[in-house]
Amino acid sequence: MKRATAAVFLRSFLIALGLSSIVPRAAAEPEAAAGEGRELFLARCSVCHSIDYIEMHARFGTRTLWKASVAKMRNAFKAPISDDEARQLVDYLQRNYGPSRAQRTTASSSISNTSVAPGLTAGGEPRSP
């Protein structure tokens, strides 16, 4: 029931926003990594938030971090995730969004306070809107 409600909410939200015209990148909203656990991730996590929440943590995405994150989603935000599903999700996140993967797939793996103009100078040309 909760999931059905969520789906209705999500759909209403997208309709209300007129998705195609006001969220230019939404058609290309980043996709979850392929492989075992992806369907579960889409059903339990993507229903509320986009995958970029996950990607931004990949550079320090240890199993400990993913366990804490899934626990927070269940306990604080009441995501309908069973114990067994939680284990599967942590496995999926660790497998696909751990530090080693992050180093392979992002332009930068370190940050310092000398950083300025975020998004403007590294990682290639910024994408235009």
Binding site: P24, C48, H57, T121
Partner: protein, 424 residues
């Protein structure tokens, strides 16, 4: 909850976009930046200082424009969390179109101004008035204030070791001229009972799941009744952009943005402390870790305190889009800000903190505003240098050399450092 969504009738985006384009032009012409200063005394005429700084790239960030907004750095798509690129902080006031936004929930209301009602009540209210936007505009004295709205987690992405949460760079903040009415005046319409201890705020945004705690925040009575605390319907002379809280938001000068609820539509006078997730668990940090003056005693525990005031901070903004610092074209400049105590001094170091040079302070738009500063370039040898900036305020608060670690990555106010390569 769904009443705020609806169909095409409620579709405000085109209207908002039209307003925004016109207003952007107005503001760009208003010239709120420093006048260009020729670098005559720098000893480095016409020499380019190329910065070798690293950029903050933590995931799949991109510069993306949503309606009514210029291209901003997208941290997350849904709920939308977008930060302001550093170049926009060269203006003392941050253009509405470039102003950051942060949402906890994905359901963003498209409120029709004519239908909007602000409901006031709660167990410690004498009456339960319901106000339209016209009531708010017509029945109360209009008040304006310039104030920085800054996310508690601004610069979280710069903590080392990293901290979980939105990996903000420097841009989860903005400075605007807010126009609206005093919260105290609106609360007077309801009448507070002697047992009132907190004022809480709920808004028209909503989570996707029924069980997810709605975003409700409270303020201690003393801050809620402070004459600088507003309910604002305009920023920088224009209606609030949808993504910055149209049609009404709470403005809490000096305090972090977690209290500045967007789309606020319900205000309650409470006879007990608000205990929901967003007050009791989120936006908290260890007590006595930071030298904060403003406190929220009713919400403090033995070990933890809510985040309250904005920590004193500063930023170098005279950085070109490609990351270079040009000595030939402009002075070194930037902004400093705090929680309203007043910036006392801004200093630069070119020798990693060995010595400090005082900067000139610029236009003063009030204690809660960004305060611009500038300095000429000193003569520098042709090698790699670091430029550091730090600020101190009239209450004796100052920035720290390295950020103070805390579990949720709040209050990052370490010196801003920029590496520059001086070429001959």
């Amino acid at each position: 909850m769904l009443a705020c969504l609806g169909g095409p009738k409620n579709f405000l985006w085109r209207k908002v976009m039209t307003l925004s384009r016109r207003d952007l032009t107005t503001r760009l012409l208003a010239g709120m930046t420093w006048p260009a200063v020729a670098a005559t005394a720098t000893g480095l005429p016409r020499k380019l200082l190329a910065a070798t700084q690293q950029s903050l790239v933590t995931g799949r960030e991109a510069l993306v424009a949503l309606p009514g907004k210029v291209a901003l750095r997208r941290l997350t798509e849904r709920p939308p969390n977008f930060e302001t690129p550093l170049e926009y902080f060269r203006s003392v006031l941050t253009p509405n179109e470039a102003f950051f936004f942060r949402y906890h929930h994905a359901v963003i209301p498209l409120v029709v101004a004519e239908d909007f009602r602000l409901e006031i009540g709660g167990p410690a209210a004498e009456r339960t008035p319901s106000l339209s936007l016209a009531d708010l505009r017509g029945d109360f004295p209009v008040t304006e204030i310039v104030a920085v709205c800054q996310c508690s987690g601004n610069r979280r992405g710069l903590f080392d070791p990293p901290v979980a949460g939105l990996q903000w760079g420097h841009g989860a903040m903005g400075n605007a001229r807010w126009r609206g009415v005093r919260l105290a005046a609106v609360l007077q319409r309801a009448g507070l009972r002697p047992n009132a201890v907190e004022i809480s705020f709920d808004a028209a945004d909503a989570p996707l799941l029924e069980g997810t705690p709605d975003f409700i925040k409270s303020l201690p009575l003393v801050k809620a009744l402070h004459p600088d605390t507003l309910l604002a319907y305009e920023m920088n002379g224009a209606p609030l952009p949808v993504l910055n809280g149209f049609p009404l938001r709470v403005v809490v000068p000096g305090w972090t943005a977690t209290y500045w609820l967007k789309h606020v539509n319900r205000i309650s006078a409470l006879d007990a402390n608000e205990k929901n997730f967003w007050m009791a668990s989120a936006y908290r940090m260890p007590r006595q870790l930071f030298p904060l003056i403003a406190r929220f005693p009713g919400q403090e525990t033995v070990e933890r305190t809510p985040v309250t005031e904005i920590a004193i901070n500063s930023l170098i903004t005279s950085i070109e889009r490609d990351g270079a610092l040009q000595a030939s074209r402009s002075a070194l400049s930037g902004i400093a800000w705090d929680s309203g105590r007043g910036i006392d001094r801004v200093e630069l170091s070119f020798d990693r903190g060995g010595s400090w040079r005082l900067c000139e302070l610029g236009e003063d738009l009030g204690p809660y505003s960004f305060r611009p500063w500038r300095s000429d370039w000193p003569a520098l040898a042709a090698e790699v240098h670091e430029v550091w900036v730090r600020a101190a305020n009239k209450a004796g608060q100052s920035q720290v050399e390295t950020p103070i670690p805390n579990p949720s990555g709040y209050q990052h106010n370490a010196y801003h450092r920029v590496k520059v390569q001086v070429r001959t």
